[in-house]
């Protein structure tokens, strides 16, 4: 699943460490999320969406397999 976390974070001019501290997760988790290596739990996905003040669909892009 793709996401716009890095883009939204950079728009706000915050560092990974700051985002991690705000969401009470490790910096490595933010890094893995941004790289697309790790898909978050639904709780963390909502926390991220609320942090950026956007609906969850605007932060995470769900693509069904086989679809572009």
């Amino acid at each position: 699943m793709k996401n716009r976390i890095e883009e939204l974070r950079k728009q706000r001019g915050i560092r990974q460490e700051e985002l991690a501290a705000a969401l009470m997760v490790s910096r490595q988790t933010i890094g893995s999320l941004e790289n697309g290596r790790y898909n978050p739990s639904i709780t963390l996905a909502f926390k991220l969406a609320r942090y950026f003040g956007k609906p969850i669909e605007d932060v995470f892009i769900y693509e069904e397999e086989g679809q572009p």
Binding site: A20, V25, S26, T29, S32, Y38, P40, S41
Partner: protein, 139 residues
């Protein structure tokens, strides 16, 4: 409060070391020399180490460190990493145990030893089924 505990622990350790050196080094109770040295060293090093750490570490830094450890422990990715690593280690251990049992049979080890080692493989599989059933109900 914690500092007093560390001082007490270090004192107990030092006491045990002294006891070992002065009383149990020679004579009838020489059997107690080893355990006294071991337990005394552990208590002394643990107590003194924690005491030095609590004195030298600034309060704010200690709080920040505690918070960081709490975040790292509760971090969902770290939890998944721990679970995956534990599961993989368990799977590898099963193969190691099977190889160990095969080696025991190959080298004609006593039957009791082979049965005991095989029991470990069996216990592993029983635990696997038990936990699958448990999590099947819980999750």
């Amino acid at each position: 409060m914690k500092k007093a505990l560390y001082i007490l622990l270090a004192a107990v350790g030092a006491g045990l070391l002294l006891l070992a050196g002065l009383v149990f080094a020679k004579g009838e109770n020489q059997l107690l020399f080893g355990p006294c040295i071991g337990a005394g060293s552990a208590c002394f090093v643990l107590g003194a180490g924690q005491l030095v750490y609590s004195i030298t570490m600034p309060k704010e830094k200690e709080e920040a460190l505690k918070k960081q450890v709490a975040v790292e422990t509760a971090d969902e990715r770290n939890i998944i990493l721990r679970d995956k690593a534990g599961s993989m280690a368990g799977r590898v251990m099963l193969y190691v145990l099977c190889a160990f049992v095969a080696l025991l049979v190959l080298f004609r080890a006593p039957a009791a030893v082979v049965v005991a080692a095989s029991a470990l493989v069996l216990i592993h599989n029983i635990l696997f089924v038990v936990f699958i059933n448990h999590y099947n109900k819980v999750l």
